[in-house]
Symmetry: C2
Subunit: 405 residues, 2 copies
């Protein structure tokens, strides 16, 4: 990304792009603390081109089903989201609740119900207290500074809100892309819902908005794994309202690559924040695979390494255990041959067609950092990919084994 | 299995079937303690029909490559196995070492080198001290009581040897099937090699021995997962020497189903022992999936559940967290619909097309046992499968994060 003229916006949020307003309130959906935000609203002053990518889970929850239906026409204008209860695995009544969330938001904002995106995260199998959502919604004050409240209201086990924004110029106009996300670890009895919302004030042709989002997600959220479990409610949504003016960016438009880089940049930033805040995580683990025969191979190998419990425990223990990394690449399904492989950990080469002598004590010390980087060259082609994860710690086991019912 | 006339042999080993001799010694391959067995030999008094199933790992180690070559003709007569060093990821020299192991064993036993199966487990990437194997091999005394020594010599992080044997009668003859196995958890710097050896004195036609083994492995070792990592050296081998006499059991033979049941029974027993002795494991986790559209679907769902870190931590914490079980089934790729699913934990129904009220405190107490059984009915067909695993404990993280170099 460094070669593109993107500038990070310190403290940027989903309302950094012009024409977006957000806010949140305490509806008491699950958390009793009166200052705990759990209901959020995002609204655009004008209709947006919109797209979503969704979990492939067999039990896709009502929020996914309703959002997918509402975004089928490539158009949306608002998002309503809650934390506390995920409104999934609750039968037909859950579907009705998700529809009602869209209806309440639409009535309050004066937009069509099918222009509202619906998202829920929290306990699975519980009844969503839809009445509390209905009653609390009018308490939300929308503002161009409301992005952070939105980001806080969708948190569950997250310890910090995840936000990012970036700006770039194109032919005299300044465009912004903003985003927020919530955690992908799970905690009893919550499910691992990963939610991310991206906004931009660039004028985007509905014909390209889905590929814009799916390209960005393919390099970011889809390469994130905390523990391999996915939830019935995972979704990523992109809304583009065009409030910054200028030519509509459609297929083949000269600004499209820059816009794609900006959306991807924000998505990768959110992904790194999500990985670093994985449950019980002490370190961000970044695995870069190059020289793969295909992009799919590169992604397979990178994901297998970042998911391996043995690699993750070694990272936790500052153990430069290169064998575990190679073994994970070997069972990933990617095309890989022992004699063609080169591996570096924290910039130190440890294997090149065979073990390479290195200073183990020094490398172990170098592993005691907040970010660990593993780079594997497969020597099989030109494709590459990066995956993001975290170490596996005793804290992860503690958090997830506590019986809290 | 209870409906078949199979009788377990208490204390049974790979030498329970007639005509098999085994023994082991201390070669000092890695472990310095002089009473630590690390080199083992199994020999049949006569040539055997033989078959192997092997890891699909991209870095298949020299022991796999040599064994696969030697068993290509469906014939073998001996096994040489060592622990301490896995002889994998060591380049072309490792391949030569594996050949030499077969040659040394063949010379000592007076059999052909290509009738020798070779297996190694232990540290990856280290040089195998082949000279110590050569020098120690003559110290091994083979005996019909040597099965347990063999089982002990192949242990790495295993806390107990895994062995089983069963007998059955057929038209006046008594046949036995025996087996041993070693652990599938990993510990630094050892790799997760899973080795299993099965023997029988039944006369088996080489035309059926591979399917006999692969059917048994499909219901047992292939359904075992401790942490999802597989190693370059995993193998399961079956040798049948016919020492008990009788008609050769070939395709369509009336005794074939009984023999298959016996081999599967021993394989499942070893699999349960392996799961219970997984690294840091406190409990055996058995997941039974029924009502699946296909066997592949049943296996997918059962494996996903038994592999889920969230299910495994819940089992550790005595937490009857049915949501995590359903979520794992949902992302497994198996065909599954919320309204068709029924789930029981320790025999208590907790979900049937929707949450079912149950006594959570009582079920939590019932989870505090050495074996936890989860039963999921998908309502999509008639296929079923059982997967075996263990809980995820702080001890697993501790063992695998210790930096021991």
């Amino acid at each position: 990304m460094t070669e593109t003229p993107l500038s990070d916006v310190p403290g940027g949020t989903i309302t950094t792009p012009r024409g977006f307003l957000a806010g949140a309130t305490h509806a008491g959906i699950k958390y009793p603390e009166p200052d705990r935000l759990d209901l959020a609203l995002l609204s655009s002053e004008r209709p947006c081109a919109g797209a979503g990518v969704y979990t492939q889970h067999a039990f896709r929850g009502p929020p996914i089903l309703i959002t997918e239906r509402h975004l089928a026409n490539g158009r949306a204008q608002a998002v309503i989201a809650n934390s506390g209860v995920s409104n999934s695995l609750y039968g037909d009544e859950g579907l009705r609740f998700a529809e009602q969330m869209a209806e309440y938001a639409a009535a309050q904002l004066g937009v069509a119900a099918d222009d509202v995106v619906v998202a829920s995260t929290g306990v699975t199998g519980w009844r969503l207290p839809i009445e509390r959502i209905r009653d609390a919604l009018p308490n939300i004050t929308l503002s161009p500074d409301g992005g952070e409240s939105f980001a806080r209201a969708i948190m569950t086990t997250d310890t910090v809100p995840k936000q990012a924004a970036v700006r770039f110029e194109w032919q005299g106009a300044t465009y912004a892309v903003g985003g927020c996300a919530k955690g992908s670890g799970m905690i009893h009895p919550n499910m691992a819902t990963m939610l991310a919302f991206l906004t931009t004030d660039a004028p985007v042709d509905p014909a390209v908005i889905h590929s814009l989002l799916s390209d960005a997600a393919g390099e970011s959220f889809n390469m994130l794994t905390i523990d391999g479990d996915t939830s019935p409610n995972d979704m990523v949504v992109l809304l583009a309202n065009g409030a910054a003016g200028g030519e509509t960016i459609g297929p083949g438009h000269a600004a499209l690559p820059l816009l794609r880089a900006a959306v991807t940049h924000v998505a990768v930033s959110l992904t790194r924040q999500l990985a670093r805040d994985g449950e019980g995580a002490g370190k961000l683990l970044v695995v870069r695979v190059e020289g793969a025969a295909t992009v799919e191979d590169a992604r397979r190998a990178a994901r297998a390494i970042v998911l391996s419990p043995l690699v993750k425990t070694a990272v936790y223990g500052n153990d430069p255990n290169w064998g575990r990394v190679l073994v994970a690449a070997g069972y990933s399904g990617a095309q890989v041959r022992e004699r063609d492989v080169a591996l570096s950990i924290q910039g130190v080469e440890v294997f090149r067609g065979g073990a390479v002598p290195f200073d183990e004590a020094a490398l172990s010390r170098s592993l005691a950092q907040e970010e660990v980087r593993i780079e594997l060259h497969l020597g099989a082609g030109d494709a590459s990919a990066t995956a993001y994860g975290c170490d596996l710690t005793p804290e992860y086991v503690r958090i997830n084994s506590e019986y809290t019912t």
